[in-house]
């Protein structure tokens, strides 16, 4: 139908057309809210747009009102029963964007959150399920701004998660400042990696890393404060005067230390509270308390969170 081509312009124009509609409708046809009136054109020209031009009816220009009514019936048979309708009840859950444009226009005059709620698809391309976005009171209800608003909400949800992740960000408000903090944090982490790798490289220039895996266990024992003398064989140093039982205890201690560092601490929430005050937590030995954050089951059960759950 020829009338479908002007339709996409209507949502694009957003709020202006309903504002223009009363003025032009009153001027041209007196039947405010008709489709042809909304175009802002005299009725005859509008009818020419609507109807196929190949059939010049002899009575076409003579009675514009009759023809207008006929056009109205023919063109609006499919989408909606009559142009200024009370919003029809939401039929299917997944509606395409073009259709809600009519409802959106009418609804905009009478505030969008109709009783019972109207579902609109925001048409995401990346997953088959539609995201249902409810247009809030006083907000634009056309498809583009709905999609934009859905996208903005996703971004805001992720910003919230990031704020929890990065230390010292919960007090900051505003996207730009939070992004600032995130950038600083990432930069500091990358610089720490540089520094630590330099430190590792500088341990002993002559030492090859071939046997590195072996000595680290006994090193854990050393860190617990065992007495050690330089120049002695490390095996002797690591198990000094402890005998068999002592060695077993030492092994258990080493295991505890190493796995305690690797393992997740028991109270993630409290760790996060503590870390809020320490900013930045640079070079502290309790750096293992960083995994209290749960990407998969974060508080707001929203689409971003579920998406994280599936993909991470």
């Amino acid at each position: 139908m020829r009338h479908s081509s002007p339709t996409p312009d209507l949502p694009a124009a957003g709020g202006e057309i309903p504002a223009l509609a009363p003025t032009s409708a009153a001027a041209s046809t007196g039947s405010g809210g008709t489709f042809t009136a909304l175009l802002g054109l005299p009725t005859s020209q509008a009818i020419e747009l609507l109807l196929p031009v190949a059939e010049p009816a002899p009575t076409f220009p003579s009675d514009p009102h009759l023809v207008d009514r006929a056009a109205r019936f023919s063109s609006f048979a499919s989408p909606s029963p009559s142009p200024p309708p009370p919003p029809p009840p939401a039929s299917a859950a997944n509606k395409r964007k073009a259709e809600p444009a009519f409802k959106g226009r009418a609804a905009k005059k009478g505030k969008s959150t109709a009783a019972g709620g109207e579902d609109r698809g925001s048409g995401e391309d990346e997953k088959p399920a539609y995201v249902h976005v409810r247009a809030r009171r006083g907000q634009a209800t056309d498809s583009h701004s709905l999609a934009e608003r859905a996208r903005r909400e996703k971004i805001n949800a992720r910003m919230e998660l990031l704020k929890e992740l990065v230390p010292g960000c919960s007090k900051v408000s505003g996207t730009a400042l939070v992004l600032d903090e995130i950038i600083n944090h990432v930069q500091s982490l990358q610089r720490q990696v540089e520094y630590l790798s330099m430190r590792l490289a500088a341990v002993n220039p002559r030492v090859d890393f071939g046997g590195i895996d072996n000595f680290l266990t006994t090193e854990c024992g050393r860190i617990t404060g065992l007495n050690c003398k330089s120049g002695m064989d490390l095996e002797q140093v690591s198990w000094p005067d402890m005998g068999v039982h002592g060695a077993r205890n030492l092994m258990q201690l080493q295991q505890q230390i190493w796995h305690g560092d690797l393992a997740h601490p028991q109270q993630p929430a409290s760790q996060w509270e503590k870390r809020e005050d320490v900013h930045p937590p640079v070079f502290s030995s309790t750096s293992s308390s960083l995994f209290g954050y749960d990407l998969a089951s974060s508080g707001p059960q929203q689409q971003p969170a579920s998406k994280l759950k599936t993909e991470l």
């Binding site: 391309d125 990346e126 634009a140 056309d142 583009h144 992720r158 990031l162 992740l165 996207t175 730009a176 992004l179 600032d180 995130i182 950038i183 990432v186 930069q187 982490l189 990358q190 990696v193 630590l196 790798s197 330099m198 430190r199 590792l200 490289a201 500088a202 341990v203 220039p205 002559r206 030492v207 090859d208 890393f209 071939g210 046997g211 590195i212 895996d213 072996n214 000595f215 266990t217 006994t218 090193e219 050393r222 860190i223 050690c228 330089s230 490390l234 295991q255 190493w258 690797l262 997740h264 070079f283 750096s287 960083l290 995994f291 749960d294 990407l295 998969a296 089951s297 994280l308 991470l312």
Partner: protein
Amino acid sequence: MRGPTAKAFKQGFLRSFLLSLKSCRTGDMSLQERKRAVRSSADAAMATARGGGAIWPRALLASSSSSPSSSSWPGLLLNAAKVKTTRCKSTARRCCRPKRSSSEMIARRLVRKRTKILRGMVPGGELLDSVSLLREAMDYVVHLRAQVAVLRRVSNAMHHMAATSYLTGLDLSRLAQGLLHRVCN
């Protein structure tokens, strides 16, 4: 929870890191070269241990390997991960309301600038739109922290070791318990 996977990631990272360190011959390198070798092996180990759940490991590996086919990986990554590319901006701008305050525009410009900076810092961020970029940044930060923790432990241990004894590489390899053996069990 991230807890058990954190431990698994750290263990996997440590394993790969030690393996790659052992494999590179650092005997007669300069300090800078050693540092670069350590850094690249740490990054490669982190990317390997992360697995395929995110974009940045592949980008990191691609940039560190610098293979001749690395120029094609952006397209491959996009196809493989079904990343939504940046939405066409002209459509959005056409339907924006004419009344947009200048303060809003300033904020928008700031955010855009910072997003660009973040894109440069997260490996593989160039390909992503802002929504996915935030998720990648989150993932990257978490794993960076793990990497820093493990590296710190290892370097502390090495330094402590080197400070209290004058062992050569030969002595190091003579020691009994393998850390990897412990970690794997």
